[in-house]
């Protein structure tokens, strides 16, 4: 681990620059993706990536150059290019960062269970083949796939103020899905995939529930195929954690990103219905809503000690008792806005610059068990596992769809319904939060696929949440 440290230190120390500040962020990632589809192993895919971004500050103007050439000459050349660019854009620069503080800490961070070896390739394929083979023989089951992605990351941040921050992490993404088809309609039921990822090792596979999942997921796909469409109308809505994560992500996470509020993302990812003046005063949701930025849950995807600009990360309430307190804004956004933020300046790799991103964004548990949540609903619906997401560029009007729905009448779970969709407006939706599940309903989830930024970046984000109930929501089904 961190084998390149001594070499990097030596080369960083030998860099020559007239800049008042410069930094080097080295990233090495190796990945492995395995899949068995309909009992046939697909060709395994591996990747190894390594490079560094050099960032400079010249007369308060920052610029970067990213290179995979880690030789002394390669790093020096990248630094020189970054310097030249900073001087070139100086007259047109939006920001003067002369007074912005820089990181100077030294710290190592590792994923939990990183020292434990991950199961061998053969063992992984055996598991996937076993789950694939457990799908029953039924002509309506037209496709199924068991998959396992593993990503290992080492990152070393050095800067001219003496900071040295090293992180070694392993991310695991198990998944299983089955598609059933009746000649006209098709329904897919899944486990994990884009809705589940954690840091750790073999323990993540167990926590995801991949082992012995095949037959159960297949049965649920067939149930969906036989189910009626979700009825249209207004109902109370019970969202399970694997849909809550999407709800949190799209209608709390993105609107609270400070760079959106400052306008950087208006051309691509969008803006926000939240204004800078709303922090400290806006009633974002009901008094039951407590949202935290929490980098301390070891297994959650975006747990870390420092962000990619070197800012130390700690748990912070973004929303407490429904009141909006602070944005998702890293050191730069805090400098620009004057607001307190969090350590969420993140990049997807060595070839992209850090920007404000979600990291671990969680809803704190409440006090009700799942049976109590269901028991408190007279006319409602349970929805589970996101499959469709769409929200406007200010992150307000949304429409989300799930794989699995079950009606709730008079406090009891009733029949399964297919194509469960719902729509609402963020600024009102969280005010309808009427019950929050306790720790027994709380799940740590996450996705590797959050896209944003110009140039574009995909980063991993964690979301942990209990099941939650929202009153009087507009729900509807599909055409089929």
């Amino acid at each position: 681990m961190f084998e390149i440290t001594a070499l990097l230190r030596q080369r960083f120390a030998a860099l020559r620059s007239d800049a008042e500040f410069f930094s080097l962020r080295y990233v090495q990632q190796s990945q492995q993706y395995l899949s068995v589809r309909k009992n046939i192993a697909e060709p395994p895919f591996f990747s190894r990536d390594e490079g560094a971004m050099l960032t400079v500050r010249v007369k308060g103007v920052e610029a970067y150059a990213a290179t995979a050439d880690l030789s002394q000459a390669g790093l020096q050349q990248a630094l020189a290019h970054a310097e030249a660019l900073a001087r070139q854009i100086g007259a047109l620069a939006l920001l003067n960062l002369s007074d912005q503080a820089v990181a100077s800490e030294r710290r190592d961070y590792c994923s939990p269970n990183l020292e434990q070896p991950f199961p061998s390739l053969a063992d992984c394929f055996d598991l996937l083949a076993r789950e694939s083979a457990s799908v029953p023989d039924d002509s309506r089951l037209v496709n199924w796939q068991a998959s396992l992605g593993v990503s290992n990351l080492e990152q070393i941040y050095l800067n001219s103020a003496g900071a040295e921050l090293r992180q070694a992490q392993r991310f695991v993404y198990p998944g299983f899905s089955v598609t059933a088809f009746d000649g006209q309609d098709s329904q897919t039921r899944s486990l994990g995939r884009d809705n589940f990822g954690q840091q750790g090792g073999e323990d993540v596979i167990v926590r995801c529930g991949l082992v012995n999942a095949g037959a159960k997921v297949a049965d649920q796909a067939l149930q969906l195929l036989l189910a009626p469409n979700t009825p249209s109308g207004v109902r109370d809505l019970l969202l399970m954690p694997d849909q809550m994560m999407l709800q949190i992500h799209e209608s709390i996470g993105h609107p609270l990103e400070m760079d959106r509020i400052l306008g950087d993302e208006r051309n691509y990812a969008g803006t926000s219905f939240v204004n800078a003046s709303d922090f400290g005063t806006l009633q974002y949701g009901s008094k039951l809503l407590n949202v935290t930025f929490d980098p301390t849950l070891g297994e959650e995807l975006a747990s870390y000690s420092h962000d990619d600009d070197g800012t130390p990360a700690s748990k912070q309430f973004l929303i407490r008792d429904g009141v909006l307190l602070r944005p998702l804004g890293g050191a730069l956004s805090q400098f620009r806005s004057g607001l307190d933020g969090v350590a969420n300046s993140r990049a997807c790799g060595w070839n992209r610059a850090p920007i404000d991103r979600m990291a671990n964004l969680n809803i704190e548990p409440g006090e009700q068990r799942l049976d109590q949540l269901i028991g408190g609903i007279e006319h409602g619906i349970l929805m589970s596992t996101n499959r469709s997401w769409s929200i406007d560029d200010a992150r307000n009007k949304f429409q989300f769809g799930c794989e699995w729905g079950q009606l709730i009448e008079n406090g009891e779970l009733k029949g399964v319904v297919k194509n469960p969709n719902y729509r609402g407006i963020s600024a009102q939706f969280w005010g309808n939060l009427s019950a929050v599940g306790d720790a027994s309903t709380f799940e740590v989830l996450g996705t590797p696929n959050c896209g944003k930024g110009e140039p574009n970046q995909v980063v991993r984000v964690g979301h942990a949440s209990p099941a939650c109930v929202f009153s009087q929501i507009d729900v509807f089904g599909g055409d089929a």
């Binding site: 769409s390 429409q399 194509n419 574009n456 995909v458």
Partner: protein, 443 residues
């Protein structure tokens, strides 16, 4: 003297040829770029940098088994050769652990393709000066991405392809004080100062309409005109598995009913994969020569995109599709509606410049939802009346491009991808605008 990317790739391919041992086979893909990225906010530079990256993807095949490894190149020939050797060794150790792959299919055609476009790109100072001059008092936000892109392919059966092109893509928006915005783009291979100034002026003129009081619409059904950029969002959704042989066979395609002949689009709708003349490489990522295809002809599903693996699994003929089987040069046939007649033919309804964040609300029914974004106007009597606040639509493609399609424009727009996920993309679409009798707004 530093080796060119082509020479680096040729050297690696030659070295690899010496390393493999019969009956092993290999394919080697190459992807590189040297990009400049300049972000703007409030017409000033928010963030700027350059990225130099190159990677190879090695597939090793032996004894009916295959595995793939992608690795980054560092521009040092010795280190890159070491990485190639390490990749070969890892794949050699992997193959015996795998079961024989029944869908393994090697393309044994020894094709050759070479395309190099080295037209000089504008100097960064020139671009910055022109943006400063034209947009100084405007609220401009966006990104300028420029530089050479390289793609290569070689295999042990003698195929070799090289694609190299310089390009720029300036993608920006102008914002009115009221928060409304107009989207614009200037992209290509040769920067023309007059052409850029014209684009900026056109966007500025549209911005004036956005200063009028906002009109708030209620959910319901409306006549609508979807400009080519809005159509591009709808096509983007259909490209998400719509034409994929695997998605169609496994019932995860939004166009499964069209290709099963259970549904039809309007006879006005013909869509092709038009590789020839496009900016995309002439060869796929898995090393086959791409073909022009007729995906939808007069409203009926026709060709599907078939990669080598799907060809073997579903007993189809491979036709040069990438492994993910998405179009990379989509071309939709034009109609007869003249550009100057759009507002008159629309009469009363919505003029929609762009759509945003589409997704499926019922995939097998090709029913999708999304939102208006950037310069959407309410039109009455053929005249623009007011900008419209953001609205959500939820409708089936079989309605929008089927029973409710009234006309397609005679003029089409070439839209070059602005996507930079992982690397700058080379895909494009060539699309008309569409006049629809009924668009369902829901929120």
């Amino acid at each position: 003297m530093t080796a060119t990317p082509l020479h680096s790739f040729q050297r690696l391919a030659a070295y690899l040829q010496d390393q493999v041992r019969a009956p092993e086979h290999y394919t080697l893909g190459y992807s590189a770029e040297h990009s400049q990225f300049i972000r703007f906010n409030h017409a000033k530079v928010r963030q700027a940098g350059e990225v130099q990256q190159a990677s190879c993807t090695l597939k090793l095949v032996n004894d009916g088994r295959q595995a793939e490894l992608q690795f980054t190149l560092c521009h040092d020939p010795e280190v890159d050769q070491q990485r190639l050797v390490q990749a070969i060794e890892q794949l050699r150790q992997t193959l015996p652990l795998l079961a024989a792959d029944p869908y393994l299919q090697l393309n044994d055609e020894a094709w050759h393709s070479h395309s190099v476009q080295e037209q000089a790109l504008p100097e960064t100072d020139q671009v910055l000066a022109q943006i400063k001059q034209g947009a100084a008092e405007l609220d401009l936000v966006g990104i300028y991405a420029a530089g050479p892109i390289y793609r290569g392919f070689a295999n042990s059966l003698g195929a070799f392809g090289w694609h190299q092109a310089n390009s720029f893509n300036f993608d920006w928006s102008l914002f009115h004080r009221n928060g409304q915005a107009v989207k614009a783009n200037y992209a290509g291979q040769a920067w023309d100062s007059d052409a850029f100034a014209l684009r900026l002026r056109q966007a500025r003129e549209q911005l004036e309409y956005l200063g009028r009081p906002l009109k708030t619409l209620f959910p319901g059904e409306y006549r609508a005109y979807l400009a080519p950029a809005a159509m591009d969002e709808i096509m983007g959704m259909l490209c998400w598995g719509g034409f994929s042989a695997q998605a169609l066979a496994t019932k995860s395609s939004p166009l499964q009913r069209l290709f099963a002949d259970d549904a039809r689009l309007s006879s006005m709708v013909s869509i092709g994969e038009q590789i020839s003349g496009s900016l995309s490489p002439a060869f796929s990522d898995e090393g086959t020569v791409r073909h022009d295809l007729r995906l939808i002809e007069q409203g009926r599903g026709l060709d599907r995109l078939v990669c080598a693996r799907s060809a073997a699994e579903f007993a189809l003929a491979a036709n040069g599709a990438d492994g993910h089987e998405s179009p990379c040069a989509l071309s939709m046939a034009a109609g007869e509606l003249a550009q100057q007649s759009i507002l008159e033919r629309l009469g009363t309804g919505l003029y929609i410049s762009n759509l945003w964040y589409l997704n499926f609300s019922d995939l097998p029914a090709a029913r999708m939802t999304g939102l208006t974004r950037f310069a959407t106007f309410w039109v009455e009597g053929g005249q623009i009346q007011a900008p419209v606040s953001t609205m959500r639509f939820d409708d089936s493609v079989y309605s929008l491009l089927g029973s409710q399609l009234e006309a397609l424009t005679a003029e089409r727009e070439l839209i070059l991808s602005t996507s930079t996920y992982g690397q700058r993309q080379t895909s494009s679409s060539h699309l008309p605008g569409a006049l629809v009798k009924r668009l369902t707004l829901t929120l």
